[in-house]
């Protein structure tokens, strides 16, 4: 026990104890933020800790990666599958939404054209060699579809039926160079012919011809069907005038029309079924 009876020893021990108690007391007193001493000491040891931590994390990371490689692989595969599933679900949801919107528009169109006997159909293929100018739909003669039946989309006119099978039909779009639709320029109350043109069809456009010489046609004019042809009924939206040209040799005008229907994206259509065998309306 001589150690504790030594005055010097006791003095130093008591001093250390007092400092420790003061330190604990300071710690125990509630304060805002971190104390100066704590802050200073931690600031000093922080770079050491950081340096060592960087090294140890590297080593630990390497060994951890090696030892867990199998787990990571499995987890990666599992998560990839999960992400794909979610992506698919997300895409499906968006697709259903888009389809729903399209069908809703088509229904509106059907209601708007309730005077006609119509049937909805889906586009099942496009003849790619023809720049999407001919479509195949999933309805045919068993659904009452006949050649020259008019085909519409929610936005406006698509074309007419060219060929009919039992459960399919081929539709020629208005931008096909074999197509010709009687048009009506609403603003100036004039008629013209909306024709397909190979050079315009590449951009999904068609051509407005037979415009009278003194016509006041201008860019932005809306073109609708005139109802003068044997096939197309009146007042179906065709498109808008995008550009007007003048033929240098004949001084006649023609215009480029942007159809309201985007033929590269069309998916659902409405077919107007003719009542008589001769097809006229």
């Amino acid at each position: 026990m001589s150690f504790f009876s030594n005055r010097k020893n006791m003095l130093i021990i008591v001093l250390i104890l007092v400092i420790s108690i003061v330190s604990i007391t300071i710690y125990a007193v509630p304060k805002n933020g971190t104390g100066f001493v704590t802050n200073a000491v931690n600031s000093m040891i922080m770079p050491i800790e950081k340096g060592i931590s960087t090294c140890t994390n590297g080593v630990r990371g390497f060994f951890s990666f090696v030892s867990n490689a199998k787990y990571y692989k499995e987890a990666n595969e599992k998560l990839t599958a999960q992400v794909n599933k979610y992506k698919m679900a997300d895409r499906s949801e968006a697709e259903y939404q888009a389809e729903n919107d399209r069908l809703k528009k088509l229904l509106d169109l059907k209601e708007k054209n309730s005077q006609y006997d119509t049937v909805g159909a889906s586009v099942i293929s496009r003849e790619s060699t023809n720049w999407y100018n001919v479509f195949t739909i999933d309805k045919g003669s068993k659904d009452g579809i006949k050649v020259n039946d008019v085909v519409m989309a929610s936005e406006g006119l698509v074309g007419h039926v060219k060929q009919v099978g039992l459960n399919w039909a081929k539709v020629v779009s208005i931008i096909d160079d074999t197509s010709s639709v009687g048009g009506y320029i609403e603003r100036i109350n004039e008629v013209a012919i909306c024709e397909g043109d190979v050079s315009f069809a590449k951009d999904g456009k068609c051509k407005l011809t037979h415009i009278s010489v003194g016509s006041q046609l201008s860019v932005g004019d809306m073109i609708k069907t005139s109802g003068l042809s044997d096939i197309y009924p009146r007042d179906i939206m065709i498109g808008t005038v995008e550009k007007i040209y003048t033929d240098a040799s004949t001084s006649s005008k023609y215009a480029m029309i942007t159809p309201v229907v985007d033929f590269s994206k069309i998916q659902e259509v409405l077919v107007i079924r003719t009542q008589q065998e001769d097809g006229g309306k």
Binding site: S2, N6, I12, I52, R60
Partner: protein, 168 residues
């Protein structure tokens, strides 16, 4: 020279404590190298003023590395040092087992005080659960660590040369 070796050991252990200790956790139990060193050092060294100060330094560094209020471990380490030297001094031939037994007992006391401090700070965890999940596993860990640390202390610091009074 011996004192310098002690301080080098303490600093190295502090660096290990703040850097590698988390990597050596077993079932969430992190060892306290400075505490185990203090125990083994006390058993090997015996009661001296330098030893007492060195244990206080161990305590201070343990506080810096840990979460206890600064000064808590200083007092505790000094008390533990005193206990270890006084009790351990009576067993000249069984210093290794004594170090290991102290490794468990002192750790139990230290962790209990840590629990108490945390309890007073507002962290209320069931004491039974703390014993089963933290204190006893750490005690066991420290027993094994004390086995290794004892040889480290013996090898790098060695027995303290006896003073003239002790020789007499």
């Amino acid at each position: 020279m011996r004192n310098i070796r002690v301080y080098i050991c303490i600093v190295l252990l502090f660096i290990i404590q703040i850097s590698f200790a988390n990597l050596l956790d077993i079932n969430g139990c992190i060892p306290n190298f400075l505490l185990v060193f203090c125990i083994c050092f006390a058993v090997v060294n015996g009661l001296t003023l330098n030893g007492m100060i060195q244990s206080a330094v161990c305590g201070l560094l343990s506080d810096i590395a840990g979460a206890l209020p600064w000064g808590t471990s200083v007092i505790l380490f000094m008390v533990f040092y005193s206990i270890c030297t006084l009790v351990g001094g009576k067993f000249y031939r069984a210093k290794l087992p004594i170090s290991m037994i102290f490794g468990a007992v002192i750790t139990f006391l230290y962790e209990s005080v840590s629990y108490l401090v945390m309890f007073m700070e507002g962290t209320h965890v069931s004491f039974g659960l703390s014993i089963m999940r933290v204190i006893l596993p750490v005690c066991l860990y420290h027993v094994i660590l004390a086995f290794v640390m004892y040889f480290v202390v013996q090898r790098f610091i060695g027995e303290r040369p006896l003073s003239e009074t002790e020789m007499e």
